[in-house]
């Protein structure tokens, strides 16, 4: 039954989270001995004070204590503090997370909405010019470096358009610094970065939908459906697509965990104020603890996302539930 399946997968996820914590902290251990977040550059502090502060912050504890403390903290929503200014990682995450979700969420939705019709067209008109064109675009799309595509789009639509006097797209940020924030402003800023991300998804998913559709249409139950005397449209879109979408959803599901991290490069290129860019900026400043906190958070989301995808798949394909 569905409930049992979910519980089983959930327990497996817990184990993975514990493992992730372990590895995270092992990596962090390399940096533990040297810094006190936000404070150590103050020349007025005496060595005893620093030592006391470090004890207070639990930085000189044996590893297992640190592990337990970390898990305790995380369970209460505390992902650590920055090494630069002591600010809580959690607040940074909460600030930036909506932006990232806005970007990757839009890209995934657009990707799905475009991939399905393109894939179906490719399957129904197999071998036609449209099909070949789609294949070429897909193959090319898979080979283009995301960051380069972003740069090109900026070059064309921000720089060149502006130079040519045409209406141009903003090249950074989620909103304009002055008078920004309304829906149109957000859309205009979202356009290019989301296109870059969506393009990548599209090139993979449309091909996948196409081959999935082709396989489904060659199945016996499609023959049965036709023999029942329904229109070809019903055969393809009700009996066929429903089956062809299952593998696609699995594939999309595999992307869900990457919802938070998938857009990092695009965020950096477009100056998008998301979680990925946060990690990147802090990394350049060697703010280990923030990067760790953000990484751990993103990993938790991956595990949760995997769980969600499994459950979704089980809902869609009745054969899984009862296995």
């Amino acid at each position: 039954m569905l409930a049992k399946f979910v519980v089983r997968r959930f327990l497996a996820s817990i184990v993975v989270v514990l493992g992730v914590t372990l590895i995270t902290l092992l990596l962090m251990d390399r940096t533990r001995g040297t810094y006190v977040p936000g404070i150590d550059l103050n020349p007025a502090l005496r060595p005893e004070d620093i030592a006391r502060l470090r004890t207070n912050l639990g930085l000189d504890q044996p590893f297992y204590m640190w592990y337990v403390t970390w898990i305790w903290n995380v369970a209460h929503g505390d992902f650590g503090r920055s090494m630069i200014d002591g600010s809580p990682v959690t607040s940074h995450i909460l600030d930036r997370l909506p932006n990232t979700l806005e970007l990757t969420g839009t890209a995934i939705v657009v990707g799905i909405l475009l991939s399905i019709p393109l894939g179906v067209i490719g399957a129904l008109r197999r071998g036609s010019k449209a099909d070949h064109a789609l294949t070429v675009v897909s193959v090319a799309g898979f080979a283009v470096p995301q960051f380069w595509m972003g740069l090109l789009l900026i070059l064309i639509f921000s720089v060149t358009f502006q130079q040519a006097g045409l209406p141009w797209l903003p090249s950074s940020g989620a909103t304009s610094p002055l008078n920004g924030g309304d829906l149109w402003d957000r859309i205009v800023h979202l356009l290019m970065p989301a296109t870059v991300l969506a393009f990548f998804y599209l090139s993979v998913w449309s091909r996948f939908t196409r081959s999935s559709m082709l396989e489904v249409l060659s199945q016996d139950y499609i023959r049965t459906a036709r023999a029942k005397g329904m229109s070809e449209r019903r055969v393809v879109y009700l009996h066929g697509l429903r089956n062809a979408l299952i593998p696609l959803i699995t594939l999309v599901g595999l992307e869900l965990p990457g919802l938070v991290s998938g857009g990092l490069v695009v965020e950096v290129v477009f100056g998008w104020p998301g979680i990925g860019r946060l990690a990147f900026e802090r990394a350049l400043q060697y703010d280990y603890s923030t990067v760790m906190g953000v990484t751990f958070f993103a990993t938790l989301l991956v595990v949760a996302g995997n769980l969600l995808a499994d459950v979704l798949y089980a809902i869609l394909d009745p054969r899984i539930r009862y296995a």
Binding site: V15, G19, L22, I23, A143, I154, G262, V265
Partner: protein, 307 residues
């Protein structure tokens, strides 16, 4: 004395129809190789990759005879020269020749890519073979570990490791491989599980073969096709990852040229030297495209599941 070979041969029934005896039996490898050779796109792309690799390896030769400069050679009188003349592809902000840097960059990028694959495949195959063959708690343990490794969002892990360890080409390859091996392990384990059940394994064990022999001489060759396919399909992605890391400044550091880090400052080239944006990107694109198409051709030829 009766020749046993002859006696046996004459006992066999004649072939059912003439077509039987004519085609010689072919090994899996020969057959796959021939199929690959018949795929023109695959051959073109594969050759392109080989040519690029050769150029990368022979980089000093090229610079000596073609461009006459070193990749890090500054020429502050000739900064931002457009393509043409002595500098076929122009120069950058420090007067360094773009073509030369692309050639040397190829060395770095391709070198890191191949090293990454090698590391990834070795570790992944080892773990996958062990997990698949021994099963039970070893399998559970190893696969949980793989689950954990695969749970980390790769790019974050790369960033983290880039600031924890110094990014040299070798450490970069190790970092990228540290995420990639998980997928390989799962793949290999799956193949082992399906091969393990086949009768020839049972037969081999029943004549007393030891585990190691079984794994190396019997399981591994059957797993190789899947590995080959995975490796060739993965090259393109690894190059893209490596280029992205370099672009972000978390990979190969300047002044060592790599295709990715040639684009790090490209935002400042937008207004006057756009060739500096196009060339490295096009190079990456063409290489990855060729790698992907070649990978597809290899998969079409070698994948046992498509037979």
């Amino acid at each position: 004395m009766i020749d046993p070979g002859q006696a046996i041969a004459s006992d066999l029934p004649a072939p059912a129809f003439e077509g039987d005896a004519r085609r010689p039996a072919q090994s899996y490898w020969n057959e796959s190789w021939e199929r690959l050779r018949a795929n023109r796109i695959g051959i073109v792309c594969g050759s392109l990759i080989v040519v690029l690799a050769l150029i990368a390896i022979a980089a000093p030769l090229f610079t000596q005879f073609l461009t006459h400069v070193e990749p890090s050679q500054l020429d502050l009188d000739n900064t931002f020269k457009p393509p043409g003349g002595a500098h076929l592809l122009g120069t950058d902000e420090l007067g360094r020749d773009t073509l030369t840097r692309l050639i040397y960059g190829g060395r770095v990028t391709l070198g890191v890519a191949f090293l990454t694959i090698a590391l990834s495949l070795t570790l992944g195959t080892g773990v996958g073979l062990l997990a698949g063959y021994y099963g039970r708690w070893i399998d559970d343990l190893l696969m949980r570990f793989v689950d954990v490794v695969l749970a980390f969002p790769a790019i974050f892990l790369f960033i983290l490791m880039a600031i924890l360890f110094r990014p040299t080409p070798i450490t970069l390859a190790a970092v990228i491989a540290s995420v990639g091996w998980g997928g390989v392990a799962r793949l290999v384990r799956g193949e082992v599980l399906s091969v393990k059940e086949r009768d020839f394994i049972l037969a081999t064990r029943s004549i007393g073969a030891r585990d190691v022999r079984l794994i190396v001489r019997h399981l591994l060759p059957n797993v190789l096709p899947v590995l080959i396919v995975a490796a060739t399909l993965g090259v393109g992605q690894i190059i893209l990852i490596e280029a992205a890391l370099d672009f972000l400044g978390l990979g190969i550091q300047p002044p060592t040229a790599s295709w990715g880090n040639m684009l790090t400052n490209s935002q400042s080239y937008f207004f006057h030297s756009t060739w500096l944006v196009y060339f490295p990107g096009i190079t990456i694109f063409v290489t990855v495209l060729a790698a992907n198409l070649f990978g597809n051709a290899v998969r079409d030829a070698f994948d046992p599941r498509l037979k």
